[in-house]
Symmetry: D2
Subunit: 131 residues, 4 copies
């Protein structure tokens, strides 16, 4: 994604932790858009009444991913506690959404794909938190 | 705020925890808009170069508050882990923003007011987490 | 809302147009949260399959209102074309959501309340555009 | 981006207009993240006091792009007026941000890259509006 080129031109140099944040940002951007798409596809399914919970959790996960994306993209004047707390919330949101999508993956392929992207995003969050 | 009237008409009844979430949602809406306003006012100050960190933290806090507001407003099919993790992140973001605003409160009254609203929002988040 | 106190402390003075923008911002904040709540209440209704369109439109209206709120709250370095185009989109989104909510107002009181707040927000947008 | 795979699994089939919306969504996701990154890089520049306007406009453009991304990703129960009005606002926001970034492109390479992505996003918006 193009934001990577822009961040590489930021006047303050990044470091190894910064690189982990940017991989996390890329996954958050991908996952946020995917959760928005999965909630929307679920809303049009014939068995929508069985999908209320996955719609809700995917909408919530999209909010957390999109907020975390912006926060991990930014490099100026960071507050590490705020960043870590947000990435932790994103890891929890992605796990919750992946597990809820798993329950519908056999019947709805969009839920299967969404569970995969949520797990990739969770792994990128956890890699930030391991540092 | 009007969303309270709409939530009161939700087909699924709320409970005591739900009431704490809605108080949290109200503070998040107020705090998110306030952090957006404080980051913007700081950007126009003559000493903006001293205010990079408070601008960044207020922008980040606005992202977390606005995401948490939407998540705590929703009542259908909740995932408690996701909600608690998000409210925890919001509490951390509000504390970080309040402390950074404190450092500039003597010179910039908008930072003083923003620190106050961040502490009210943190208290509402912590009340959710205490249940 | 507290953001008003913060904007009043902005180092650059506002004007009459600015006052219309801030009334618009207040309505956008109220309307965005209300549309989030109405989409969520609709998702839990027994006749959810009849409510797909109002859920979609309310989710979209919330996105536009929340983006417009942030843009109209900011006072530093404005681009008038960008602001007007966004407020126009918000007026159109609020009208679309009000009309869709009207269709369900007889059966779902949350849709009736949401239509009212959408029309208040549209009026505040149109007042900006009339200047 | 992964959301494309999920949208391809949506139960309601898309059409030619839908394909234009999805190309627009991809550009909006890329542009929103890029504008967030450019505003942030500008905030850390030594001549930040000359960059207030580009910071403001890039923050605003990110709001519009991210809202438009979600709206163009969704396929269920669309309101065409709302979608077109939002895409129009996004086209205007991208033009405003590209022109403001142009003014700083000679000194700040991140503004040059951001202007390019804004123009790509504007073109994708205009392609939607031409149909």
């Amino acid at each position: 994604m193009t934001f990577r080129k822009i961040v590489a031109l930021h006047p303050v140099p990044g470091d190894d932790f910064r690189e982990a944040l940017l991989r996390c940002a890329e996954e958050c951007v991908d996952c946020g858009a995917s959760c928005t798409a999965c909630a929307d596809a679920s809303l049009s399914e014939r068995d929508v009444r069985e999908l209320i919970r996955v719609i809700r959790v995917a909408l919530d996960c999209a909010e957390v991913c999109d907020a975390t994306a912006r926060i991990t993209i930014r490099q100026s004047g960071p507050d590490i506690r705020l960043i870590r707390a947000t990435v932790e919330a994103c890891s929890a949101a992605c796990l919750a959404c992946a597990e809820e999508c798993d329950r519908h993956a056999a019947h709805h392929a969009h839920c299967r794909v969404c569970a995969e992207v949520c797990r990739r995003c969770k792994a990128a969050c956890d890699d930030v938190l391991a540092r």
